[in-house]
Symmetry: C3
């Protein structure tokens, strides 16, 4: 992709805008208010298929040019969306087979969005045609700075239409080659499940299905969406020179690495609350690592979500500012609101926005203006620096899906990732969140919880080498316990952990009620949860041992510290409490010589370096308590010009852009 020179410069403070839902006469008012708010970018057209192609093959782009021109002429950059998430009624009327079908065989109806099947040839054909028509039309438009393909593409249970059923067989054939291999790898002598041919394999519906089928089904369904996006990307890339992406939702098992392989910019939507705001940090730490281009936070709310009913209460003052600036701190070049002006009718007529449906500014209008002002002041620093770190944290969609389809023990689930991440954040660390294939050689300290299989992308071998070369690895729980199919190992509990460390696993023990009591070898109580991998205590240095539970396990170890080559492996056999995990992180940081404890309270610190200098963006994100950031030397806050030495105290929701 060869980026075209545009009239606009990041960072962008943008919004989703739906001029097709309003009378044309409203546009000048909306634009004047955007300028007043400090908005410099608008995402448009993503749901406007019917307006652009009111009848098959009859394209009407005049109205859209008019909108793009008005925006661009007023200094507002445009991101165009291809409208495949909302196919018009005439498409499903001509080809009723385009509709997704649920596990009970019932097709979806027109009237919402994302009701068509990404595998359906008619839907694909017409989606590519409108995308191509748009691309041709706007390829050289100087006001268009980027493209978004579709919207929040994903499905929960997947589509069970005949096309999907057929293609699933083809997917399995390609993956397994012959049916005997599939039977063997899925252990299908069990329950007499074995198949004679790929066409016979059931889709996961109307029965108690095995987890391997379910894992492949999820991968297949996600891949179907990925292929659909890639086909659109190919079409767009034939014409346009600005970055192309697709806006996705928080972790859901979609393989964002694979999805973005043929795209230019990560686009991401989130609607988190103060209550779960730290999860957003995790996602941004992930998005940053996928593509070289700074990512775009394409959607977030200004104040609340709402379809026909608002599900939230008013948020604390300052949340809008911190939420808007956070992506920029962590590697984005854009933050965009959904939605500019609440719909006057239809599905989401109570959603938070910048302007109320009546056209009046919402109560957070001032916070939007403040954000625009901060962005303006820090633009040069943000554009000219990148986040830099020596710490990584593993996440991979295959493990997300494996955990979904076989969580091992009740209460274990993918939300636990956030529990593991939070203490890192509270230790002042700024990890890159990376998937299996990512090169680990640049890191000194890596955390790998819930990585049920390590057989993807050569991760197992990569980590062995990396540890022996001197890396510090905090691994587990629930890591390395399944092969790539989600099967257990037949003669060992782990894929390679025992072999790498010499540790000897004895038993696995579920415990959600605190029946197992444990302590640090130095005597302090330790609190684990849900699951215990029990090791022979002599295998590696025992860090935590069992005091009570069952005579077979008492005295054995559940957390080990093993020296391996020049490196260290800390094996977590359980889900530690927040405080116990803080202690483990501190120990690991000492091995890796990574500074630990640079923050106090809910403070996020994002060290950045680049042609624009060196510094750190710091923010208090709880909104309820002050926090502290410790550093060496003196830095100046670009926003206020104020200087800080050795430490900066932050008021609730305070943001500093500190430059050396």
């Amino acid at each position: 992709m060869n980026e075209q020179k545009t009239l606009f410069r990041p960072p962008y403070l943008g919004c989703a805008y739906y001029p097709e839902d309003w009378d044309e006469s409203e546009i000048p008012y909306d634009i004047s208010m955007m300028k007043k708010a400090g908005i410099n970018c608008a995402r448009i057209a993503e749901f406007a298929w019917h307006k652009m192609e009111p009848a098959p093959g009859k394209f009407e782009f005049g109205w859209l040019h008019h909108v793009v021109n008005q925006l661009g002429e007023n200094g507002i950059a445009v991101v165009l969306g291809t409208p495949s998430a909302t196919p018009p009624r005439w498409l499903s009327k001509i080809y009723p087979d385009v509709m997704q079908v649920n596990a009970n065989g019932i097709p979806m109806s027109h009237g919402g969005r994302r009701h068509c099947c990404s595998n359906n040839p008619h839907y694909v054909e017409y989606s590519l045609r409108i995308a191509e028509a748009m691309a041709k039309e706007f390829a050289d438009d100087p006001y268009v700075i980027g493209w978004q393909i579709d919207n929040e593409i994903y499905s929960f249970d997947g589509c069970f239409c005949p096309e999907c059923c057929g293609r699933f067989a083809e997917y399995l054939r390609e993956k397994y080659g012959d049916i005997e291999t599939l039977n063997a790898r899925w252990n299908l002598n069990l329950f007499s499940q074995a198949y004679d041919c790929f066409e016979d394999v059931a889709q996961p519906k109307n029965a108690w299905h095995n987890p391997h089928l379910q894992l492949d089904w999820k991968t297949f369904q996600n891949d179907s969406h990925i292929h659909f996006v890639h086909k659109q990307a190919e079409v767009l890339h034939r014409y346009v020179k600005v970055p192309v992406g697709t806006d996705t939702m928080p972790f859901n098992g979609m393989d964002y690495g694979k999805l973005n392989e043929k795209l230019d910019v990560i686009q991401f939507n989130h609607y988190n609350d103060p209550q779960n705001h730290s999860n957003v940090v995790l996602w941004f730490d992930y998005l940053r690592t996928i593509l070289p281009h700074p990512f775009w936070n394409t959607e977030t709310q200004t104040c609340w979500n709402g379809s026909v009913a608002i599900g939230q209460s008013i948020k604390p003052e300052g949340f809008c500012r911190v939420n808007s600036f956070m992506p920029l701190a962590l590697g984005a070049e854009a933050n965009m609101y959904w939605i500019w002006r609440t719909h006057w009718a239809g599905h989401e007529l109570t959603h938070g926005s910048v302007l109320d449906a009546s056209g009046r500014p919402m109560h957070i209008f001032g916070e939007v203006q403040d954000t625009a002002e901060m962005i303006k002041k820090s633009a040069e620093f943000i554009n000219g620096t990148r986040v830099k770190t020596r710490v990584a944290f593993h996440y991979d969609s295959i493990n997300w899906n494996m955990m979904l389809t076989q969580p091992v023990v009740g209460g274990m689930n993918n939300d636990r990732i956030n529990e593991f991440y939070r203490p890192l954040l509270d230790s002042g660390l700024r990890p890159d969140v990376i998937f299996s294939e990512k090169d680990v050689s640049g890191y000194d300290l890596i955390f790998s919880p819930l990585m049920m299989t390590m057989e993807k992308g050569g991760l197992s071998d990569a980590m062995k080498k990396w540890v022996k070369d001197g890396g510090t690895w905090v691994v587990g729980p629930m890591t390395d316990i399944r092969n790539i199919d989600g099967a257990r190992y037949q003669h060992k509990p782990f894929g390679m952990l025992e072999e790498l460390t010499g540790a000897k696993w004895l038993y696995g023990i579920p415990d959600a009620i605190g029946a197992v009591k444990t302590a640090w070898t130095d005597g302090d109580d330790f609190r684990g949860n849900l699951w215990y991998d029990i090791f022979e205590p002599g295998s590696g240095a025992a860090l935590v041992t069992v005091k009570e539970g069952h005579s077979a396990i008492n005295g054995k170890a559940c957390v080990l510290d093993c020296t391996v080559g020049k490196g260290h492996v800390i094996i977590l056999g359980t889900v530690p409490s927040h405080d116990d995990l803080m202690k483990i992180i501190s120990r690991a940081c000492a091995y890796a010589k990574v500074p630990c404890g640079t923050t106090e309270g809910a403070v996020l610190a994002s060290p950045r370096v680049g042609e624009a200098g060196e510094g750190v963006i710091v923010m208090e994100y709880s909104g309820s308590n002050p926090g502290v950031y410790h550093f060496e030397g003196t830095m100046t806050d670009i926003l206020t010009g104020k200087s800080y030495t050795d430490k900066a105290e932050l008021a609730p929701y305070e943001i500093l852009v500190l430059k050396k």
Copy 2:
């Protein structure tokens, strides 16, 4: 309707009786026990289609004449029900298409009731035929004092059979004229939903649908039932001269005004508990206003509900009496129990009744006898007076359905109507509950909460005039915020409230957690809930202002008191606590010069006037605490002959029929 002179006089204490389920030899025993209980009316035949027409076109009414005659000859009046709620198996065997179909395309089975589609031509044809046969047969029967059409006609999600789908398109065509109008009014450029023709419009199933479609679907489905009832009414009216009605259930979005337009008497079923007994008062205050004829409470339990299991515990002694007499106090001329004698087998074989299935009297038999005695003593006063009031309270099915399909904010729902009504009751008021089209000129004080649209039936204009002429209007929250389609106004937050009062709305704020703090302008704390409309404080006299929440709203007003012409408008921008609403009611009563605070405790007072004199029926309905009723002068209790001056103290569940 020209009422025939009958052998019987109201008020009626009646019961549902199913002689078809018992051996004929049981009838004399049942009748002897009815007489012992004081029952003077029986509702029969509503589910007996198969017994009256055991094969298509083969009518057998001999057994029914025999029952009617035995009842009538024993002084028990008869209400006959048309049996369309329970079509026989032979009908669905000849025409399988009569069955309702759910959103997944699955037809209902025979074996329960109300399984046929009100739009199905075969079902309609056969329903009218049996109704006509009955009407001819019993038109001149002197023992039959009224007719009931069908039973509890209503459906939740509606029927999705081909007939309904086709007729929904026709309904939309008739309402919107052309498809462009529908597209525009529903804002269907959003999500590319626009349709080319009415036949294309989806029914609300298997997708995330817009609230305007859902609102029209509900109206269409309810109208289908209404048309079905009207067709039966037309047939009956051709033959019978006694009142015809249809027995309906508590508020559910059915338009009872429209439904009863072609009927003569309101019939109503309720099964409330001591816990929610005050809601019943609201319903009776509504039923009274719809038709001139005193309404019939066609069903209530003597003690508990039960199908295959009783879902309730024994009720406090006295509840049966108060529950039985309450409709008569509030404008009815009949209270009837469901059921006379518990079914010995079948669907509802644990339901509370007057006689147990074994034929033995239930434990409340004495309370039924007491009720009969009270009715006898007060009959002349009840028949010769009507409830009289200067206060009204708005309710309209369109707003019920709008709230169902777009509740605006989580926690908001139609149950809130009861929360608004209860303080009126606790203030001693006796409002008429009226729908949009009702003339308001006779009232001095009107409450209109949750009237999301005021565009129905010219209500908006009527209220403007009424207020300017001197009315006192307590309006909101969630009133006047949507047009007739459930859409928001594009350039203003309310349809006419700002224009009428000069108030200036700034923001809408959701808050279910108490983040927003408010106070009366006199300094006392005020407790709102769920939602705040925030107004420029100077616009109208601020009654309640925001103390804390967000700097944009602090100091602004959420309850206003506006003088308009000769009248007053108190705008409620939030859901007030019970006590705060009591204060507002008191203020409004002072404006309207309506007596306030005439009752203490859970006391219901129903002032009545007519040819039989003037007085008031008073009852304590909590059953747990004594209460007081204040009045001027001296009145005598018709039940006991005891005299009261200035006030009457009531024991729990005590009932007084006071006459001047």
Copy 3:
């Protein structure tokens, strides 16, 4: 059945073993570990249809002979399962109609188990063919000590395939003879439900159905499974001489008496926890009474259940031992674990076992070895004695299903059986749990709660005679209140209780909130729950009377003690508290001269007598507190050789095999 002389002797400590899921080379290791654990029996082949018949009619038993031989040669007896629970994919491919169909018409998919319909002729034909092939192949195998048909055969809502619908009509025709009889017995004039022919009768789906239809549907569905099992039994009995059974699950409305009529040994699976371990005692007391052959506990967990996630926490040490030995104490000759070694992949890859999937022993391995040792020591006593008692407790599947389909009052349900049983256990009683047809003449004391109908198997008459002859009967609540169809009696509340005792029932009262207050006639408070049958106090000696509730019931009785002939009938009109039921049991034991209070704490005592002498097996089953067993004289514990006089004190989870 003529039992073949085998190489093995009970008692058996066995396990389910799935060699088809592992490489053949694993077998020797598994067998060596079985021997180490003390396992002397393996259940195999139950799910291995596809491995035994990989293509239609192509049988392959070589691998299975190899496994059986290896096991047998190592002293491990084999139980073979017919594999009908897991038909191969090729069967449903040839005959798609074999699949069960749910109430929405959706067939089940391949990929789990028990997805075929027991009535489907193709499924039946192929199931019988594989069973016959196995039977021929292994009829004379000396290592095979028994056969299991299918696995946990049962269905919740049942199958709605065309075959089932047709056969349901035939079932009804056979039961009722003519449709008028069905209409009359089900009271189908109600709601115009009456049918013209059996083919018209609805299956219980997609409507609100009557409880009589639902009861017959459940019976029909269960009978379908029973017939299917009987057909397989017939085939097996043609060839094999060792006992044949089918392994069933805890009480679920399946008629285990009928099911096992054509079988030789009861097989039973349970997975209870410490929390509900006393329910297991109830089931074993039932299993023991059905067939003369000692029963087999074919499945229990060693430590926890788990499909893709373990749902439990680690269990207290000792639970495995007590849980393993309990069936042997109560009449079994085998206890078997599910599963020997956790599956390395597939549906249940987290289930507790003896060996982990990795091949390593689980933490309970030592408890399994202890159990084997105890069994060895007590084998002669267990084999040579039988449980002996004078007390019985009624349970019948028809009443289970009646309670499911019409629980009478909210909160009443079949779990209440355990509440009634527990105080018997706590009184040291060892009741036989028997169904309606069982001869009662050998018992002195019988409990019959929740026996809604007593019309099955002549129970009503049998009990009348038995009581008059001197029996002591504790009866109710909810007993004798319905006829065999689940209908109420039209002229009396009970079938025969009033007539038998002279008691006079007045009212039935629901009360889950404690509104009704009651007391023993001696003045102590009594606590009932959910329901009160209220009797004329003079009818029989009132034991408990109502103090408060409603004037109609105050002073009336709800528990009666009636002398009848030489016997006693204690009528329970309510659900007594545990302690109040203990008092009633004590009173009844005194009448019957049955020792009461022989145990303290959670102690189970199973008196046994036979050719091997006389004694009692005693165990503490709470695991948390010590207990005591009182007796007369001196006995010696076979396990330790220790002697006890008059009483034995037991530590938590301690087991004694005491012999006189």
